[in-house]
């Protein structure tokens, strides 16, 4: 209730030091259907619940191959997720083109996070409404990262996002 005065655009702080538009974007992730990821020393596994709009429609595609060594699972606004996957693919292709080697996963998530951050500091943009579980292998081993709409990212051993993901997290 108190939030309503300060939540009109993303460039307005609340008195408590919060950006409500960004928090609302994170809500969108929580409302999306679940995605989980876990990793071992040598493998990363991503899994999703794929919803279908109706009995007759196809299921949503929520896992994307980004490069031979990186995949991403999304939860939230899948359209935003598709666009970000395309961005990730082009980053990987450009890196391979210049350096003739695969883009380290940690670098990719930083690029993603910086891109998300831009949308939290421009009045004419809105934050991406999608959480991404980025899993990949590079020279330093297997990695699993979670990228938020806020521009934050964290590395995880295992994580779950989306609706009813708490059950997975508890497990």
């Amino acid at each position: 209730m108190f939030r309503n005065q300060y939540d009109t655009d993303v460039t307005t702080w609340s008195p408590a030091g919060r950006l409500f538009q960004v928090e609302y974007a994170m809500e969108a992730v929580k409302q999306g259907s679940a995605a989980i990821g876990l990793r071992s020393k040598t493998h990363v596994v991503l899994a999703c619940v794929n919803k279908a709009n109706s009995e007759l429609s196809s299921h949503q595609k929520k896992i994307f191959k980004v490069d031979d060594h990186i995949g991403v699972a999304i939860a939230g606004l899948t359209a935003d997720g598709r666009v970000l996957s395309r961005y990730m693919r082009s980053e990987c292709i450009n890196y391979s083109y210049t350096y003739e080697s695969p883009l380290p996963v940690g670098r990719l998530v930083v690029h993603l996070a910086d891109k998300a951050q831009v949308c939290t500091q421009r009045s004419w943009k809105r934050p991406y409404g999608v959480g991404l579980l980025v899993g990949g292998l590079d020279e330093s081993g297997a990695h699993l990262y979670y990228n938020c709409p806020s521009g934050n990212y964290f590395e995880y051993q295992a994580f779950a996002i989306g609706s009813r993901s708490q059950a997975a997290k508890t497990y």
Binding site: R86, R89, I93, N94, Y97
Partner: protein, 223 residues
Amino acid sequence: MTKQHANWSPYDNNGGSCVAIAGADYCVIAADTRMSTGYNILTREYSKISQLAEKSVMASSGFQADVKALQKVLSARHLIYQHQHNKQMSCPAMAQLLSNTLYYKRFFPYYSFNVLGGLDSEGKGCVFTYDAVGSYERVGYSSQGSGSTLIMPFLDNQLKSPSPLLLPAQDAVTPLSETEAVDLVKTVFASATERDIYTGDKLEIVILNASGIRREYMELRKD
């Protein structure tokens, strides 16, 4: 005052010859492995052949730095295609992409003389031949590079159908078997090596057919 001209050129010619022959259900793509500059040899073991997609193989002679850049651009574009379409590019599609990529640099061309070989969507062999700025044509066989003036007339003699005026229109594909085509390629390069100083050292042959891709090598004269 007369116009000043540059005292350097962005291009160099690294020599070499390429050939491709299309068969009913196979395609043979071959190139020598000598890389030279002027009258010097840079290396005897440089591959001019690159597999762009599952059923598309390109051989290019000319300026190898431009060839390498061209191969990288096409590989990256193919990766994008695979992400978007969930399948490999067909050889005719790759042929068009190569043409467009070359014309994109119409006013600072890739100094690359290409011959693209592969299997079309029906599994038949196809060969596409190009100039440096992307003009291309589907043919039954072709050669490019420093030895092409020696090789092409010989291929015409062996593979070209008699004048279309005498016979009904021919398929653009040779009636030779795969082994015969490979032997023809070996013969052709052995002869070209005799007279073209930029061709020699080793011959790399790539054969594409329904079972996949195969590579063969043959020694050539090293002088």
